[in-house]
Amino acid sequence: MGKRIGILFLITIVSALFTSGCQHKDKSGSGSAKIYYTTIESGDYYESWASQLNEYAKANGASFEVGYSENSVETQTSQVKDALKNGSNVFLCGLVSPDIAVEVKMAAGDIPIVFINNAPPDNQLEKNQYVYVASDEHMAGQYQAEYILEKFANKEEINIVLLKGPKDASGTIGRTEGLKQTLKSSGKKINYVFEDNADWNEENAKEMAELFLMTGREADCVVANNDDMAIGAWTAFEEAGKDTKSMLFLGVDASTKGCEAIAAGKMDFTVYQPMSTQMEAAVEAAVNLAVGEGINEIEGATEDGKYILLPFEKVDASNVGQYQ
């Protein structure tokens, strides 16, 4: 008998929670989107993200708030919880670490989250509830590989120095995979004479390139996961008196420095990561999810409704002017 009462009690509570949840949703559904952006750390990079996101949010008639987690898991989850109390109805989230996606989701309750900046594991995403907006990292690597194959169409064997970002970063993994797979499928013999994680850092890349040069091995091109590392490698090669003209230096991002390097003839190729379209898509997705709509209409949305992947653009000497 006591058990039954217990079950009844449980049912009552659950249904009460359910109804209250619904009420909550209804409240938010009637109004406009209230976006809370929590991201990895403060600093120019993410602050510029925040300000641009804010603009897009305003353009979409949504309110916008931002919190920097400073690489702390605790800070990030508490920010999310606070924002939930303050009535936010959708999150933009740059995860401090991909591993804490579950924690952030728990903290957010049933509020939808649009992940940006850092990719959560695929199995943590859910159609029209937990989505990830990013550039198609794979495509960046693929573009690099295609450029190399085009330039070295006559070569049967290509020696590549590969400088990668941090080991677990989604950009590192996607870009490297895209590059390697495309090169592998070309059927040419590809030798990675040097391959290491320079962690997006120019100095690291330079030091590594110097060490590589000491081995006396030959390299045909330097491929980096971002522009900074490509520039660092270029500097090392240049200082070692190598003929950098006959080599290819490839980066990703089409950062200001990268574009300058291309314009100066140092670097040969980069891909433009359209941050603005990414932000636009992220805000659009957030607004849609806040009012209970799907993301299918948004450009770049995958069929499974879990991703919005935005294309890169190729940048080389011929079109670098457009990106400076």
């Binding site: 677990d168 990675y192 040097f194 290491d196 060490l211 000491m214 081995t215 006396g216």
Partner: protein, 843 residues
């Protein structure tokens, strides 16, 4: 017949209610069970399949993360060591002790860390080196000899202490004495081991990487062998110079042996001469013992410099600064390893490569033993070149997947090349792929599908069994239920069937209170009603039968009687006819007599002349009279006969009258019975209809019998009166004839007298004439009477004919009555048989 025909037809297409019910319920039930079973099988299959997938995926994910964690952990410790090397600028010696410290430091990389430079120099840790790094080896003497007192100066007995030492053990007995620049070892008992007698010099310094030469002069009192060697008492007596057999002769010879010290430096080498159990006790002389260094090699290079820069790990290390893993390969010790390697940051002091071999055993353990699914197996593939890193089948390690004979493995390889790492079900295996992050490795875990489906097959078998059993049980149950429900109906059907065949002895008594029970009770009532009715009809029919039998007997008797009567009548008739004929003849004769008398009278007139004629005529007359007399007698007897016949007719008539009276009575009774039967038949309703008809027929016959009897009675009465007339007439005739006869006799007598008196008496003729006249009158009367008699005879004849006719009629009618009686009997019999069909209880 009418009843049996449809029943036969029913039999032809007879399908019992039970069959019909079972025919509908069973297929539906079987169908439902099949549907249910297959549905649950399908659902179970889906569940089992997805469970297996999930389990396999979970397993491979956890394996991959275990491997990853392990690799990361090791990489982290290597990176720490590497960082230490980069931070502390070490000289060669310090570096060596640093590397030595890592030797056997961690079971994952027992060989420790090693560093190589581009010139092929290798620095690696050594076993035990960390414990005796400050070994100081004493030097040799001035001649370079490491043996002390190798030329045996002085003279003394050698004991178990001092520079040279002598030991006996294990039953060995002997002595050693230094004198005259040599040592002489004499043996009394060679003992049981080769070291039973031993001459040694301990504490010899032996340096790693140095090649030494041992030399000495020796001879024996007899040809024999001894053994020599350099051992390490501190290192389990391992041999630096292996035990060597030396063959001694009686002539002094010089022996030289070289060896290279491969172990690390040892201050306590031990030169041994063993003279124990080798088959001889001959004394041995040894002199000029020396151990000199021939050459010393670089201690750091196990491998040639060219070899090192060509090794897998060295080449791989040059491609990175942060430590990373090479492919799996077999190292110089023949072990399957992967190396974590990278370049050292040396501030431009040159390229140094740091590397450590990780035994693949541990990876194999993760790959082979951490499979969390029963019967599943895994193998680890390096996607760089699609080679196997770890597998339960160790022969596959380092081999490319596409070169393997195993088609499953090659297909898995294809999938890896295509970078399609979704679940794969091929060649009877279910396989999942998992990238080991931080590496280019893919862990493939697979399980034979049949294992996955084994439980499913079990479930399927159980389900089929359950389905079959439940079908059978339900079949039996339904059959039984139907049987029980239908049983009273079947019983009732049998009862009705029996009833249809006329057997009402059955009983449909039941306790059931349902519709069937009501039906049974109604039938029971019907049976009882029918039984009582049939019983009453049976009684009536029996009575009718016996009556009909009686009536038949009587009518038969009557028939025979009337037949007899008829015959009698015929006879009577014949008699009457004869009588009539006789009377006619009498009449004729009387007429003739009258005519003759007239003629006589006429002739009498002519008395004289005619006397003669008279005499002849008289003669003739006399004869005629005799004839007449005879005829008269005949008539007399005929009449008498007639009389008696008529008397008989009278008696017969009387009997007929009696019989007809009996028939009349019977017919009346029959009529009454038929009336009763009709009433009973009417009561029996349709069943009695046939019987009513019979009863009516019987009634009619009885009526006809009565009518016939009445006719017969009348006829017999008429016959009686006629006979009585005939009798009286006949009596008259008899009287008359008797009179005539007397007269005729008289006439004859007269004739005789006449005839006798003619000749004498003429006168008498007159009298005679008168008398003739009288005769004439009489003759005339006779004629008249005869004629009258004849007429009467005719009348009798007519009556007799009518009597015969009536008798015939009577006979015919009697036959009809008999026949009717027969019919009646037949009808009664049929009635009895018909009633006999119905069986009722004897109450």
């Amino acid at each position: 017949m009418k009843k049996t025909k449809p029943s036969k037809k029913q039999n032809k297409h007879f399908i019992s209610i039970k069959t019909k019910l079972l025919g509908i319920i069973l297929p539906v039930m079987v169908f439902i069970i099949i549907i249910l079973t297959s549905l649950s099988y399908y659902v179970s299959k889906r569940v089992v399949q997805s469970d297996a997938q999930r389990l396999l995926t979970t397993s491979v994910e956890s394996q991959a993360s275990e491997i990853e964690e392990w690799l990361d952990k090791n990489l982290a410790s290597f990176s720490m060591a590497k960082q230490a090397f980069e931070w502390i600028d070490l000289n060669d010696k310090q570096m060596q002790s640093f590397l030595d410290a890592y030797y056997n430091f961690n079971s994952n990389f027992p060989d420790g860390i090693y560093i190589a430079d581009m010139d092929g120099r290798l620095y690696n840790g050594r076993e035990g080196a960390s414990r005796s790094t400050n070994t100081v080896l004493r030097g040799p003497d001035r001649s370079g000899n490491y043996i002390n007192n190798g030329n045996f100066k002085g003279s003394r007995q050698v004991k178990d202490n001092g520079i040279w030492q002598f030991y006996t053990t294990l039953e060995g007995e002997g002595t050693a004495k230094i004198q005259n620049g040599e040592v002489y070892i004499s043996t009394e008992s060679e003992g049981t081991a080769d070291y039973s007698i031993q001459f040694v010099q301990p504490a010899l310094p032996v340096k790693e990487g140095v090649t030494y030469r041992l030399s000495f002069d020796a001879y024996a009192d007899e040809e024999r062998i001894i053994k020599t060697g350099i051992s390490a008492p501190d290192r389990d007596y391992r041999r630096y110079l292996e035990d060597t057999t030396v063959e001694l002769t009686q002539d002094k010879q010089t022996f030289n042996y070289e060896f290279t010290m491969t172990d690390i430096d040892d201050t306590n080498g031990r030169l041994e001469f063993n003279l124990g159990a080798m088959g001889s006790t001959a004394g041995v002389h040894i002199s000029n013992v020396s151990l000199i260094k021939i050459s010393e090699t670089n201690t750091f290079s196990k491998l040639g410099s060219a070899d090192i820069v060509q090794t897998e790990w060295f080449k791989d290390a040059l491609s990175r600064v942060n430590m990373g893993f090479t492919n799996a390969y077999t190292n110089e010790n023949g072990k399957q390893v992967i190396s974590a390697c990278g370049m050292l940051r040396t501030n431009n002091k040159g390229v140094y490569v740091i590397s450590a071999d990780l035994s693949l055993d541990k990876v194999s353990v993760y790959v082979n033993s951490f499979v969390k699914m029963e019967n599943a197996e895994s193998f680890l593939v390096n996607t760089k070149d699609n080679t196997v890193i770890a597998s339960r089948n160790t022969s596959l390690i380092s081999k490319p997947l596409d070169e393997l004979d195993d088609s499953f493995m090659s297909k898995a390889g294809e999938r890896i090349v295509q970078n399609n790492l979704d679940l794969m079900e091929v060649d009877g295996n279910m396989a999942v792929f998992q990238k080991v992050s931080g590496t280019e490795w893919v862990l493939v875990s697979y399980v034979p599908s049949e294992i996955v489906y084994r439980d499913l097959n079990f479930i399927r078998n159980i389900m089929i069994l359950f389905g079959v059993i439940s079908t059978v049980v339900l079949m039996i149950l339904i059959e039984r239920i139907t049987h029980i429900v239908i049983k009273p109906v079947k019983k009732l059907t049998d009862i009705i069937k029996t009833m249809t065949e006329g057997d009402f002895t059955v009983s449909s008594h039941t306790k059931s209170n349902d519709e069937i029970g009501i039906m049974a009770r109604c039938v029971e009532k019907f049976i009882m009603a029918m039984s009582s009715m049939i019983a009453s009809i049976d009684g009536v029919s029996d009575a009718l039968h016996s009556q009909a039998d009686n009536s038949k007997d009587i009518s038969e008797q009557m028939f025979y009687a009337s037949k007899e009567q008829n015959n009698s009548m015929q006879e009577l008739n014949n008699t009457v006819e004869q009588l009539s004929l006789s009377v006619g003849e009498i009449a004729q004769s009387a007429t003739t007599l009258a005519m003759l008398v007239e003629e006589t009278k006429d002739d009498g007139d002519g008395v004289n002349c005619k006397m003669k004629e008279t005499v002849t005529v008289s003669k003739t007359g006399k004869e005629a009279m005799q004839d007449v007399s005879m005829a008269m007698e005949d008539i007399n007897s005929s009449v008498k006969k007639l009389q008696s016949a008529i008397d008989k007719v009278g008696i017969a008539s009387e009997e007929i009258t009696n019989i007809t009276r009996v028939i009349g009575n019977i017919a009346d009774e029959t009529n009454l019975l038929s009336l009763n039967a009709s009433i009973e038949a009417a009561r029996a309703g349709d069943a009695g209809k046939g019987f009513a008809v019979v009863a009516m027929e019987i009634g009619k016959l009885a009526q006809t019998s009565v009518d016939s009897v009445r006719n017969i009675d009348n006829l017999v009465l008429e016959i009686k009166t006629s006979v009585r007339d005939v009798v009286s007439q006949a009596c008259d005739s008899v009287k008359n004839i008797n009179n005539s006869s007397t007269l005729i006799k008289n006439a004859v007598d007269t004739f005789d007298t006449i005839f006798e008196n003619i000749e004498i008496t003429g006168s008498l003729i007159q009298d005679m004439m008168q008398k003739v006249e009288k005769v004439e009158d009489v003759a005339r009367n006779v004629a008249v009477v005869s004629e009258e008699q004849a007429a009467s005879s005719e009348e009798i004849l007519g009556s007799s004919n009518i009597l015969v006719e009536q008798a015939n009629n009577l006979m015919k009618n009697s036959g009809t009555v008999a026949k009717s009686s027969e019919n009646l009997t037949a009808s009664a019999e049929e009635l009895t048989t018909q009633i006999g069909i119905f069986k009722i209880k004897d109450n």
